[in-house]
Symmetry: C2
Subunit: 325 residues, 2 copies
């Protein structure tokens, strides 16, 4: 099987590629080519014969040809301009998140006798307040950001191109990914991770919202599992609704902090400082935080059992088992 | 006020333009320019000083410049490749229904100090089975056609461009328009009108589905009122959800026929012949037929009280008060 990962240098992209390089297979099928594409130079898999890194700007007209050169059987499309940047730079967000994705789908359609599995990462940003209880998969899209609009449009294209038989798509609506390792990215939701990550590293973290704010989370490890399951499940089970809200762990900021206290102790928690930011607070108020994910569970997707596990996974996977107590 | 109607030569476009030419105003504001644009030559308003017809192919790169030349304050965008044709011709449907609309929105955005009201006609085709009771405005978009996908995407763009302040948009999801006068168009839903229109004209009509099939209808006259109300209402009342399902008259085919019998008699009804078509039957099964239109009603939109009224409006507006008994 030939596999293409678009957005391979992003946080999830790297973790997915590391897993694919290590396993050498997806489900029961061996990988004999792994193309890792990103707009920046990637360095993974230098010692793996089937691995290859390419640099591609998804907004460039040449991108689809470069990406599809070897006719990959399985495409993970994780590349995106993140929410904060897409809101600030309207043209760039649409060029990458919408036009780049559509050009890829069009190039797949134009290739004869070709119908790859496309695993597309969507987002809870496709939803927007007001909410009426837990959000199920049949809840209306009302994005309150350009990023969410672009993701919602690509979900629609993914479904139409799948229905027409041009590709075999599945969209995974990811919850907040927590704990993000490394430096913060430009996503407005970064503080959900930084209030865990920074104190564990011995650094102070700023909490810009009230601790009653709720969100729903999955670890990077669970997210890689979502992607691999999306690559192998029988898409007939999806029917016309090709996008699925992934399962997740709901937790308020207060519950996140309580879990941090249980896992890492009072000294770590004392490094969180509350500095309210009205802009972020207003943005967060429009984010959905409760989902009905029965459909994803029935399809075999699984998240962590609790937020404590999410913190422990971060310590295991990203901190080598240690933290600054 | 300057008014632009895109799709002025279509069935609803013509009726809207006739009304605008006759009234000379929208709400309380006088019209001092009415540009009627279509891909085919239009002939309305030859004797009206403020009226002008232009021929524009919405898919052409020059279209936005031609359409926006005089900076219209109010734009009715009714132009579309209809459902049947958009399904058969994938490229043409996307080029007109998606790219043409987006190029128009982009050109509006690129014009300085300009934020026109845009009244966009969307469709119940944005929804797709399975349904869970009456469909409210927060029900998820699952189009089962490329046409519905294109309409859903343009609703998302309309909302995002409105949210960003580039235009002041409202999307009207039209129910089945009934009774369509004149010749059938390429819409798959044509039989809902033809089983009324053809018998009233003394001709036989083919009914391709079972008479238990339900649909929900509004007259062309009510549709023109929807458009005019959409042009004048305070869009602040819409919040982030810029598209609204219009009110309508639910009726099964059997109820349509019973109304025809009441209004026009047995001889007219006897001209309907049932010739089942499995393809049309399968397509119709995915169409939504029950809506919760409380929101539209609260916003002041109104449909007919019953299907008898819809038939009488057709006889009054399109048949000069007469039919073949």
């Amino acid at each position: 099987m030939k596999v293409l990962v678009i957005g391979a240098a992003g946080m999830i992209g790297r973790k997915l590629c590391e897993r694919l390089l290590q396993d050498g297979r997806v489900g029961n099928v061996d990988i004999f080519e792994l193309v890792m594409a990103d707009s920046v130079v990637g360095g993974l898999g230098a010692d793996v014969a089937f691995a290859k890194n390419i640099v591609v700007d998804l907004a460039s007209p040449d991108a689809p040809t470069a990406l599809l050169a070897s006719r990959p059987d399985l495409i993970f499309h994780l590349a995106a301009i993140v929410s904060g940047e897409a809101e600030q730079n309207f043209d760039k967000g649409y060029a990458v998140n919408l036009d780049g994705t559509r050009a890829l789908f069009e190039a797949i359609r134009a290739t004869e006798n070709y119908r790859p599995r496309v695993v597309y990462t969507s987002s809870i940003a496709v939803f927007g307040a007001p909410y009426n209880g837990a959000i199920a998969d049949d809840f209306f899209h009302t994005p309150l950001s350009s990023y969410g609009t672009q993701k919602a449009i690509c979900e629609l294209l993914l479904a139409d191109y799948s229905r027409r038989g041009f590709l075999d798509g599945i969209g995974l609506r990811l919850p907040n990914i927590c704990v993000r390792p490394g430096k913060p990215n430009a996503a407005s939701s970064g503080f959900f991770s930084s209030i865990i990550r920074e104190p564990l590293a011995g650094r102070e973290a700023i909490l810009p919202v009230a601790d009653s704010v709720g969100q729903t989370h999955a670890s990077p490890r669970a997210t890689v599992e979502f992607l691999l399951h999306g690559a192998t499940l029988d898409t007939e089970e999806l029917g016309a609704r090709r996008s699925v809200m992934m399962p997740s762990v709901p937790a308020s900021i207060a519950e996140q902090i309580a879990a941090l206290r249980r896992v890492a102790g009072d000294a770590v928690v004392s490094r969180i400082r509350h500095v309210p930011d009205a802009n972020i607070g207003a943005m967060v108020a429009g984010w959905p935080a409760r989902f009905d994910t029965q459909r994803a569970l029935a399809l075999g997707f699984r998240a962590e059992p609790d937020f404590d596990s999410i913190i422990r996974i971060h310590i295991e996977d990203d901190l080598g088992g240690n933290f600054v107590g």
